[in-house]
């Protein structure tokens, strides 16, 4: 969890500095930062829950509960 945080901080910092160097508008830099933060949050959540829940398990549950396992 901590390592994921460190990785994303480094990535966001590197992207921010590289874009600043290229003279990219502040609005676009903030957009990239927001998208990166979203990915960071999803990464942390999926990693934290990896042993209890995942997307594949959710799809299986939906198939068995909503479609009665007929499909």
């Amino acid at each position: 969890m901590v390592y994921i945080g460190i990785l994303y901080v480094l990535i966001m910092l590197a992207d921010w500095l590289m874009q600043k160097k290229e003279g990219v508008q502040l609005k676009k830099r903030i957009t990239v930062l927001v998208v990166s933060i979203c990915f960071f949050v999803i990464s942390e959540v999926t990693f934290k829950l990896k042993d209890q829940w995942n997307f594949i398990m959710m799809m299986e549950y939906l198939r068995k509960s909503m479609l009665g396992g007929s499909f």
């Binding site: 990535i11 957009t31 990239v32 990166s36 990915f39 999803i42 990464s43 995942n54 398990m57």
Partner: protein, 375 residues
């Protein structure tokens, strides 16, 4: 930068990614579902999968100089378009993570036993990030460079194991044909070959967009030839029951046919082929996702999104499933409908709406012209 991907490069990339994925990871799953009917089911599924790509091709070729993410909002309305694009992006990220996990599982279970999974994924992630950051042309050129050698290697490998096959079993491929058995493999193969439809997201990059469908047809036939060339020896060597229970039947085939000769050393060669081909596939899928995100957010350059997306894909690959059988179970059941929605239903919907709008606007402009002579 635009209009520089040739038909040869498209052919190479799609052939490479399709036959490698099927041969490396999905052979066991296909054999489990269709047994002796698998080769025929794969042929039927591949051709139907190509047919699935047609709406996507027609939609993209109606505006070959515009990206789907940019013009789609004008067709179905922006809110709906954003939802569909988000679905496509999520599916691409999922597919990339799934392939990365399958690759890591393969390496960790066969060759890098005891190595931490994150290390394998991180090293591979760095390579993918570099390729994606370099751009689409780099990925297609990589595929073009690898294709000929890889196709030749994949073509000759089954012939080396000829002496190990139970040739009497060959008649079972015809005698044991069952339409009921075929259904599962047809659906799975359709979903895998239908991935070619995602090229509609990159149409402005193509040099000759009108010839794309012909190229995809060629790629389908080439992939089919190589897949069937591997499926039949696996069936004739292991039979459908053992073949279905092996996680990597093609790898086992190469190991099985050593008979004290030099063939044993071909093991690492197969790994090189698989690793590189899957690398090209993951890079392509991630690039498409990154490009869609960049266009959706209005940031023209895809590069700033590369590192966060690759980091997400790498971390997600570690948490996508608890065990490899969970992945196989997902692909056998829920995977295909999820892919059909993005490959076929979304492009078909856009195509239909665009056709209705065109007809409506056509009749509107035709009315005054028609009414003029009568006054």
């Amino acid at each position: 930068m635009l209009k520089n991907i040739t038909t040869n490069q498209i052919f190479a990339l799609f052939s490479l990614q399709t036959f490698t994925t099927v041969i490396a990871f999905y052979t066991g799953m296909l054999l489990g579902g269709s047994k002796y009917s698998t080769p025929v089911a794969v042929v039927v599924g591949a051709l139907l999968g190509l047919l699935l790509c047609y709406p996507a091709y027609k939609l993209a070729s109606s505006r070959p100089n515009e990206f789907f993410v940019e013009f789609g909002g004008k067709v179905v309305g922006r809110p709906l378009h954003i939802l569909f694009v988000l679905y496509i992006v999520i599916l691409h990220l999922f597919l990339a993570a799934l392939n990365l996990r399958e690759l890591a599982d393969f390496l960790l279970s066969e060759y890098l036993i005891g190595t931490p999974g994150w290390a394998v994924i991180a090293i591979f992630g760095v390579c993918v990030a570099y390729a994606v950051r370099c751009g689409i042309l780099t990925i297609f050129r990589t595929a073009e460079g690898f294709f000929l050698i890889f196709a030749a290697a994949f073509f000759f490998i089954p012939f080396i194991g000829f002496q190990e096959m139970e040739l009497d079993m060959f008649s079972a491929l015809i005698n044991h044909l069952s339409a009921r058995d075929m259904v599962a493999s047809i659906l799975d193969t359709m979903a895998i070959f239908g991935e070619m439809a995602f090229l509609f997201l990159l149409f402005p990059y193509l040099e000759m967009p009108k010839k794309v469908f012909r190229t995809l047809f060629g790629a389908t036939l080439t992939s089919l030839l190589l897949i069937v060339l591997h499926l039949i020896p696996i069936l004739l060597t292991f039979g459908p029951n053992l073949g279905a229970n092996l996680v990597y039947p093609d790898m086992e085939l190469v190991r099985f046919i050593r008979v004290g000769s030099f063939i044993e050393t071909m093991d690492p060669i197969l790994i090189i082929l698989w690793l590189t081909s899957i690398f090209v596939k993951i890079a392509f899928v991630v690039f498409t996702a990154v490009l869609c995100i960049a266009q959706l957010t209005g940031v023209k350059d895809h590069k700033p999104f590369t590192l966060p997306v690759v980091a997400f894909v790498s971390i997600y690959a570690m948490s996508i499933a608890r065990t490899p059988p969970e992945i196989i179970s997902f692909l056998s059941w829920e995977g295909a409908p999820m892919f059909f929605f993005a490959e076929f239903l979304i492009p078909s919907f856009y195509w239909l709406v665009a056709a209705i709008r065109k007809k409506a606007s056509g009749s509107k402009t035709a009315k005054p012209a028609g009414s003029t002579p009568t006054g």
